[in-house]
Symmetry: C2
Subunit: 342 residues, 2 copies
């Protein structure tokens, strides 16, 4: 068992810098596309098929020698389990045809029992643990990020409806977030119980909030989940607030062991602000389009800049894009291993 | 003549904090929509009609008592003048059907004479100066931001083509940026000569770059424009790098008198980093959806936080959204004036 990733999460000394990549099981991989095509179903069908989920989660570990696997799923799966219709439209992303608008909508949401409503996720975790010789990361969305999808009915540009609810109906907003928080808490606990060895909370849209609003309308729910988790499990928790450079003074209080960093901040500047936390990140996903020599230089610089971190897990600063040549991923993983072991 | 805005730009003492709002002449105003409808043409037709451009530029000054007017136009107007087809598609934004892909495309771009190719812009400026009793702001896009539209063929999500060109064909990218820089430089000079009393450079997409890439692929072209301008005119220059909190160590070297700030950073933290520069910003545009009491509190806090600035121009941290109730703009302008004069 290669536990380098877990050691880095805990801030323990490692022989080299571990690496995994957000969306490492995904559309950039021909092997993934093959599995996706084999089932003939939708993306959601794939998410609910443990055998295929496990297969695609294993692919990047086998192909590139990643130091961690991440469960193949989608952050919105538990939102469907709360009782909402969820659709994925090609090229448009997730859609909730009946967005949350009022008290009736919030009251109608259920707090799902993960075992009963999302057995396929827990089954995938068990299948993966039987196969893997690197740690398995489970995950969820953060309550604020999940709420944006529910309130906007999908992805958004300026998040008008979300902020209108925050600002004009704070009690309704709070009740919605409380329910999402409770659901997420149970969901992550169930993942840890099923065998997930680390948990990442994705706050993909945290960066659309002014710091004062983040502190009030997003952070408390993350803190609540993490506090809850830490009473029930000892797996390391990674919190990734995307576009969150100015939020670091707040995210350090989230309770997470590791802070994920997007690519907009020099990792050295981030490390100076995170105190005793390990960090994860933060190569621009598009830097994978650099020629090999330049890519290696960029990686070298990043690893040098991360030298003072209590722990460092190499990752991209956001998900890998589907157009990325897999060969560039191979170069990246190999060079991170080689240079950091040096 | 109310020159409070110009004084704040220069870091001189003012009796109160001046305010204007990005996109203050625009779709949120029924008066604007009326003028827009009157012409029956496209958005581009409006941009090329000096009488209507002047009319809509004056509206927010007359209606709300703004401390500056901004020329009504679009940052892509000079890109069309460089020889590219430009279309605006309702709901999709600007489209360049023939994006820049290779040396031939770059070579084909011309450096337009503003007087000959964009007389309507200069005419609008002259009309406005005859009417206004507050300063008039001219503007352009920053070369990097303009280049993204040309390379992507419009707006983008991850800016893959732009970064591919930067990373894989840096000479081609540089030649393109040099041409855009030259065009922008002449365009802004012509605006100042026609009567613009301040110039704002919009770097709307600066925030998609890692700081190291910003320093290499965006900042030098802004510096070149500003250096050029400062040899030919003494009007204050505002540089707005959107989503640019982590770029401040670089943007302070742009040469601009004023740094525009988006809403993701606490203005106090920004002021601590900008040295002797005046700042402009940075209320979340969606904060205009706060109830009156909360909105005033938010404004008060922002003004208090900006107290240490060498100069402060109140603005939103990005353009006002079309759904904003105009009454909220009135509350904002009045309260900024009232509280800061206090």
């Amino acid at each position: 068992m290669n536990d380098t990733f877990l050691k880095a999460c805990r801030g323990e000394k490692t022989d080299y810098t571990p690496i995994w990549i957000m969306r490492q099981a995904g559309r950039y991989l021909p092997q993934y596309l093959k599995v996706r095509a084999r089932g003939k179903g939708t993306f959601l069908d794939l998410c609910k098929d443990p055998a295929r989920c496990a297969e695609v989660s294993l692919q990047p570990v086998d192909i590139f020698n990643m130091d961690a696997a991440i469960l193949f799923s989608d952050i919105l799966i538990p939102m469907e389990a709360m009782g909402l219709n969820l659709e994925f439209h090609e090229g448009r992303g997730p859609v909730f045809p009946d967005p949350i608008q009022n008290k009736k909508d919030v009251d109608a949401l259920i707090i799902p029992d993960p075992e009963a409503t999302m057995p396929f996720v827990l089954e995938t975790i068990k299948l993966l643990r039987a196969e893997l010789n690197v740690p398995l990361i489970g995950f969820s969305g953060a309550p604020f990020t999940l709420a944006t999808y529910l309130i906007e009915g999908g992805s958004s540009k300026v998040f008008l409806e979300t902020k209108k609810m925050m600002f004009q109906a704070p009690e309704l907003y709070h009740n919605l977030l409380e329910k999402i928080t409770k659901c997420t808490s149970l969901y992550l606990q169930a993942q840890a119980e099923a065998g997930a060895q680390a948990l990442q909370i994705f706050d993909s849209w945290a960066g659309i909030l002014a710091p004062c609003d983040y502190a009030r309308f997003a952070l408390p729910y993350v803190q609540s989940i993490i506090k809850d988790l830490q009473q029930k499990t000892s797996v390391p928790i990674i919190y990734f607030a995307n576009n969150g450079a100015t939020l670091i003074p707040h995210t350090v209080t989230s309770g997470a062991d590791v802070l994920g960093l997007d690519w907009r901040i020099n990792i050295k500047d981030a490390i100076a602000k995170v105190g005793e936390h390990a960090v994860q990140g933060n190569l621009d996903p598009l830097a994978l389009f650099l020629p090999e020599k330049d890519l290696k230089n960029r990686i070298k610089q990043l690893l040098d800049n991360a030298h003072g971190a209590k722990g460092h897990i190499f990752n991209l600063g956001h998900g890998i894009v589907p157009q990325t040549p897999p060969e560039q991923v191979r170069i990246t993983v190999d060079y991170v291993h080689e240079y950091s072991a040096g």
